[in-house]
């Protein structure tokens, strides 16, 4: 059965993906910072059929703890077939503009931590010559906008890093999946006014599950974000800069 490491497993989206792997009988190693929530996710995944679910608590912003977490996952599962990285914070753009510390912290959680995790993990999968690396990036990384460009920058970094990784690892048969959700109705967007473009976490979770199983490269979820982002990317800068996005 598949052995999967889920980092940021208490994320509403990641949990939905993990549920589908659990129903297949997977063995899961789930990582988060809140032990109570992790326990809830663990119970749910077990009931849904996971052969085994181990939890690991760590603050993912602490980069120096990452190697320990990867070692623990490998020691526990023996090997890895896939990793899904899902943690993230939306951050407050206003606060970031007012404070360098805040900006750096957002970049740390949403970008550097992913790089820090993927560097050893990529080497592991490269050596193993098979497996799947999936990371939740965002459509927000496709173009910088005044309303959330710090978050967007981090996600753009993730997307670019993943592109490079895919280019490198495709040679040895490791698949690298970049997930770009649009708006999703999760705790992260609890305070945002909802509009019809909002997707449900289970839709996104399912798309990720399929993308991982089928070895896809990049997915926009729901799919309509692909044309929307294509359009947005192609608006000339001299017009775009005048828009209030």
């Amino acid at each position: 059965m598949l052995k999967i490491l889920v980092i940021g497993a208490t994320s509403a989206i990641a949990h939905e993906t993990a549920r589908l792997f659990a129903a297949d009988g997977a063995e899961l190693f789930i990582v988060g910072r809140n032990p109570d929530k992790l326990k809830i996710v663990q119970d749910d995944l077990k009931v849904r059929g996971a052969q085994r679910v181990e939890t690991y608590t760590t603050d993912l912003a602490a980069l120096d703890q990452h190697q320990a977490l990867i070692d623990a996952a490998l020691a526990s599962l023996g090997s890895l077939d896939a990793v899904l990285i899902a943690h993230g914070t939306l951050g407050d753009q206003g606060q970031a503009q007012a404070s360098v510390e805040e900006t750096l912290q957002q970049l740390n959680t949403n970008f550097l931590s992913v790089v820090s995790l993927l560097t050893p993990l990529a080497n592991y999968f490269e050596q193993q010559k098979r497996g799947c690396i999936a990371v939740i990036s965002s459509v927000a990384g496709d173009r910088g906008r005044q309303s959330n460009y710090v978050y967007g920058t981090a996600k753009a970094g993730v997307t670019t890093f993943m592109q490079g990784l895919r280019n490198r690892l495709s040679k040895v048969g490791v698949t690298v999946l970049t997930v770009k959700p649009g708006f999703v109705d999760t705790p992260m967007t609890a305070d945002a006014p909802k509009n019809p473009l909002f997707a449900k976490p289970h839709q996104v979770g399912k798309a990720i599950y399929k993308g991982m199983k089928q070895g896809q490269d990049v997915i926009y979820v729901p799919w309509f974000w692909w044309p929307i982002m294509k359009l947005i990317i192609h608006i000339p800068e001299f017009i775009f800069k005048k828009m209030g996005l």
Partner: protein, 444 residues
């Protein structure tokens, strides 16, 4: 959440009355510390809004959306005991339990209800005459009170709060998770029979003959008068027990075209014609037997998303009453006759006999007798007047009106239906209230 989202998303199924909620809060996980203290108004849990009237609304107050609480907690595959969070829908539960050989112990006519909502209204289904209400199968649940207390309630622990919360209309606190006993089934199919009856006497005869059939329900054509008064179709079924080695031939025995099963006044003239032509007169012999999937058998209306919008902006009512049945069918005939004569209401009335299995719920609606349910477009005062007339018959015969379907009953009718409400009242959480409760009690 902005107010446009709130108005659109947080309505009741009948879309009447139209509430204005100050805010909608969400519970994201069952361990969450929710600060009730900061609210300067009352709060009410909200599931999937499948209640028709105002019992799931809290006008000018706050709603607490609990539908993110959707985790499974434990499943005992030997005993068939499931523990899960209260926002999980019956649809999601069926997806999980049916392939494992289990079924819900009681289910309403839609599977888009939450476990919490099913407890708060102590819902019943086609199996009530044998299995009782959903509340009869609850082994325990956890209740979050506005004081921050978390209480395990069961038939042996916090017993009074357990009884108050089952059928407690969401007023006693938030149910975070519940544990209940499932029913073992041998297949996801139903061995179904449809039988024509010519009048109410025949309905009662068939119902009496069907006491050991797991599920029973009838449709009555309330527009036929004279000789054909009280005629209808009786549907009954058991979980199909597949003969060893044989695959059931479901396709070969299709049921009578399913979309016509619509009991509500979706399109009134359409349904009545369909009933007359397809069900009653034409093809259908006295009895038709078929093996059918459980979905169309239990949830015929769920195939049409948001069918409630068919009634337009003014919304609609469902009228559901129960009348004790002691070998007199007079009150039931009377109600059906009055509805037929009024020219209002959907032409098809759902009719079902309730059994005598007692529920632990203090304010539980089902009681031994006969229940009738049907939809009415909202035509304003004339509709409300008709309901008052019907209520009088219900009251005079010791019956009750179902709060889950109600948007208008008077205090007098509520008191006649639920004299035990005074015993219930002390268990209401001081921070909790609903449009329904205030409407009734303001006239007290």
């Amino acid at each position: 959440m902005n107010s446009a989202t709130i108005t659109k998303r947080y309505q009741s199924w009948g879309r009447y009355p139209k509430p204005e909620h100050r805010a909608v809060e969400k519970l994201y996980w069952r361990g969450q510390d929710f600060d009730f203290g900061r609210l300067d108004t009352t709060i009410l849990p909200f599931g999937y809004g499948r209640s028709y009237g105002d019992s799931c609304l809290n006008n000018d107050g706050v709603l607490l959306d609990v539908t993110e609480l959707r985790q499974l907690i434990a499943f005992d595959a030997e005993q068939g005991i499931l523990r899960c969070e209260a926002g999980l829908s019956f649809a999601e539960i069926l997806d999980f339990i049916v392939p494992r050989g289990w079924f819900l112990p009681a289910t309403p006519g839609t599977k888009f209800v939450s476990v919490g909502g099913a407890i708060a209204n102590d819902v019943h289904g086609k199996g009530h005459h044998i299995d009782g209400t959903f509340g009869c199968h609850i082994t325990q649940f956890e209740l979050l009170r506005s004081s921050g207390e978390r209480l395990i309630c069961s038939p042996t622990e916090n017993v009074e709060l357990f009884r108050a919360t089952i059928g407690g209309l969401g007023l006693t606190g938030v149910i975070l998770w519940a544990e209940f006993k499932l029913k073992p089934v041998l297949s996801p199919l139903i061995d179904q029979e449809r039988i024509k009856f010519r009048n109410l006497d025949e309905f009662f005869e068939i119902a009496a003959d069907s006491k050991t059939t797991e599920y029973t329900v009838g449709w009555i054509d309330c527009l036929s008068q004279g000789d054909s008064f009280g005629r209808g179709i009786f549907t009954r079924g058991n979980h199909y027990d597949p003969p060893l080695g044989a695959e059931p031939d479901v396709e070969a025995k299709p049921m009578v075209s399913m979309p016509i099963d619509l009991p509500s006044g979706l399109i009134n003239t359409f349904t009545v014609k369909a009933f007359n032509e397809v069900y009653y007169h034409a093809q259908l012999p006295k009895m038709v037997r078929a093996v059918v999937p459980f979905d169309p058998f239990f949830y015929p209306l769920d195939v049409i998303n948001n069918w409630n919008r068919g009634y337009g902006k003014r919304g609609f009512f469902q009228y559901q009453c129960v009348v004790p049945y002691e070998d007199s069918i007079e009150p039931i005939s009377e109600i059906i006759r009055r509805i037929g004569a009024s020219g209002q209401g959907s032409p098809l009335v759902v009719i079902k006999t309730f059994g005598d299995r007692p529920s632990p719920g203090m304010l539980s609606f089902p009681r031994p007798g006969v229940t009738l349910a049907l939809d009415f477009a909202n035509r304003g005062q004339i509709t409300l007047d008709l309901f008052e007339e019907l209520d009088a018959v219900v009251r005079a015969n010791g019956g009750a009106i179902y709060p889950a379907k109600d948007a208008r009953m008077s205090f007098e009718t509520f008191e006649a239906s639920f004299p035990q409400w005074r015993e219930f009242e002390p268990f209401i959480d001081p921070k909790f209230s609903s449009s329904f409760w205030r409407r009734i009690m303001d006239k007290c």
